[in-house]
Each structure stands twice: as C-alpha cells, then as structure tokens.
Subunit: 212 residues, 2 copies
C-alpha cells in the first residue's frame, strides 16, 4: 500500500505516476476499467481523487497509461533476454515467464485489455502495436533458430500465437487451471516447426496428412 517514494534522484513525477499506475492496476484487475471508480483508486493509492489530475489528464488517460506500461514491460522483457545471448534459451524463457507462470492477476488484466481493445480506439492502437511487435520478434527469432530451411516462421507463429493467448484466457477464468499440458504442446510445436517438420497447409479442406 505504501511506496518508497523516490525511485529516481529527482524522481517526483515519474515515481508518482508509477505509484498511481500500481494502484490503478490493482483496482482494474479487481473491478475492470469501467466499474472501478476514481474513489476506489484514491483509496488504493492512499491519495485524494483530485490529486490524480496532476499526473493524468483523465481516467481514460490513466487506462491508456497502464496499457502502455504493460506494452513497455513486454518489450523490456524481450530486450533483457536478447542480451542474455542464448536465443533459444530466450525463446523458451519468454514462453515460460510470459505465458505459463503468469499470475492470475496479470492474466485478468490482459483479458481486460483485449476486451477494451475491441471498442476503445486508443487501446486498440496500442494493442495492435503490441501484437505487431510480438509477432515480429517471434518471427525473427524463429528465422534465427530454424534448423531446417523448410521452416516457415510466419506459419509457425500463426500456430503458436493463439495457443499462447488461450493459455492466458484459461489462467484468467479457470480457478485452478494447469497450463502444463498446453506448454508441452507449445514446445513440441516450436521444435517441430523449427525443424521444418510441420505439415503443409491443406489444399481443399482442413483435413491434412497429419504428423508422423
């Protein structure tokens, strides 16, 4: 509930914003963007409602700020792993940290963002950017890690992406969801795909010759 106050030397503004976003995150996870009131946020942030407006133009700006922060966190996470050198390790770590050991709270927030993206243009734009960046990173990583020239990075991502999203949804809405099997599946899919062993797209219908 309380925050050390100074994250930077002259860190008034930025640290305050972070503090507010933390409080907002907790409230939004609990009640959603539209049912959480400014008074709720005020209580959670231990500050008066009027004071928010020194740091954010409006409630919506606050929501946008939160979504923007989530996007930055994702990009940041990727960057860290890039620096670790081992790209294959980075790939597996990303999957483990971002889509498997994800907390229920984070999953709920992500679900709320997706939902809001379907009707709020500002959120839609940010979400589209996140999706594009994620996609680009995965495709680039697939290309770099591909063992066989038969590997089709675009196609592989088209298979992997919905699986990851589905894991997030499951975590958010099912009390004791176990992502284990889906993750195993995810890894199998990645290795199969990187080895260029994925079946070709079917011609007429969805029926295909299948694996093995």
């Amino acid at each position: 509930m309380s925050v050390p106050a100074s994250t930077e030397a002259r860190g008034g503004q930025a640290a305050r914003r972070e503090h507010i976003l933390d409080a907002a995150e907790a409230c939004f996870v609990r009640n959603g963007f539209h049912r959480a009131t400014m008074q709720d946020l005020a209580r959670e942030a231990a500050m008066s409602p009027g004071n928010f407006y020194r740091y954010f133009e409006s409630k919506e700006a606050l929501v946008v700020g939160l979504v923007e922060r989530e996007r930055e966190r994702g990009a940041q996470l990727v960057e860290e792993m890039e620096r670790s050198g081992d790209r294959r390790g980075a790939l597996l770590d990303i999957i483990a940290r971002y889509f498997v050991s994800i907390t229920r709270e984070a999953a709920v927030l992500r679900l709320e963002i997706w939902s809001e993206a379907t009707r709020n243009p500002a959120i839609a734009a940010l979400t589209a950017r996140t999706e594009a960046e994620t996609r680009d990173w995965f495709v680039a990583t697939f290309s770099a890690l591909a063992i066989s020239p038969d590997c089709d990075p675009d196609r592989l991502y088209a298979l992997v992406a919905p699986l990851m999203k589905g894991i997030v949804v499951g975590r958010a809405i099912l009390p004791d969801y176990d992502p284990g099997p889906a993750v195993t599946q995810l890894h199998a899919l990645l290795e199969t795909g990187l080895d260029g062993l994925l079946p070709r797209a079917a011609r007429a219908g969805p029926r295909i010759t299948t694996l093995a």
Copy 2:
C-alpha cells in the same frame, strides 16, 4: 431494428425477452456491459427504458440472461450435431462453426463474457458451467472416436481447449485475422491425439521428444 413481433402464436413474454436480448447483444458488443446504458438499449430495442423492467429485474439480470442464452445456444448446437449421427463429422463441424467461422461480433461478446466472469460471481458460475459442459462433451467425444487405446482424452482436451480460446481472442482483437493455420493445427492435433500418437508428458522439463 424491427422485429416481426410474433415468433410464437401466444408468444408475448418469451418473444419479448428475446427481442430485448437481441438489442442488448448489439449494444454490449458495441460498448461492453458497463458502458452500454439502458437508454442505448432502449433506442436499439425501440422501446422505453422503463419497459425493460417488466421482463428483467435489473441491468445485471439482463446481462446474466444474455450469457445464459449464449450457453444454451452452445448446448443446443452440440445437441443438433449429436443427432446428425456422424460423431466425427459432428466434432469437426463444432470446431468449424463455433471457433473458426465465428463472427467478430460473437467473438467480442465471448471475450466480454470471459472478462466479466473474472469479477461477477453470477457470470463466473455460468461460465464455469459452460466450460465444464464443453469439456465433458469433448472428452466423451474423444473417448468415442479414439482409434488407439493410447489416446488420453483428458490430456487431448487440455491441448485443444486453449487453442480454441486463442482463436476466439484473435478473431475479436485482430481486424483481419485468418484462423486457417490454427484450424489446420487443431485438426492435426485432434487426429494425432485420437490415434494415440501424442508425446507423453515430459518428466523433468518441458523439453520433449516431439512428434514424428
């Protein structure tokens, strides 16, 4: 915007409720549960706001009614296909109709329901029921269709479910999402699983011997 009025011979109450739910569905898809106002619904349904309360106790009861109807539609769809005799065909049809050729509007509504389920107990209960019913049906169908005794229906569903959910999310948030590749993947997964050719769960880590 207008409705033929008489769906049943003496179909006052039920038909009226359906009419209201139709209007509510349109508004909720457009603005979400909490931003859509009763006046919006009134405009869409071409009736006065006060009149809603003859058919639903409150706005929340209206939301619950809508979610309940969605659940019934799912169960109904399954029932129809069961009657068609061909269980394998039913399985593929379910997938095609419910998770692939799903309209953007339906996907958005589903996303909204999932999101609401994370904080509204009534919706959470309905959603849990839907999830359980869906799961039971798939597991039963897998058991009936399994070619090899090595097929593990529970495990297979754990792989298939997040993929389907992810397709819905993609449809809802990505303007021109193509579910094709994911569906192909889904079918491959089903056939592999039914043939009992899925890799066993990994022991120590997520790294597995993979398919083929």
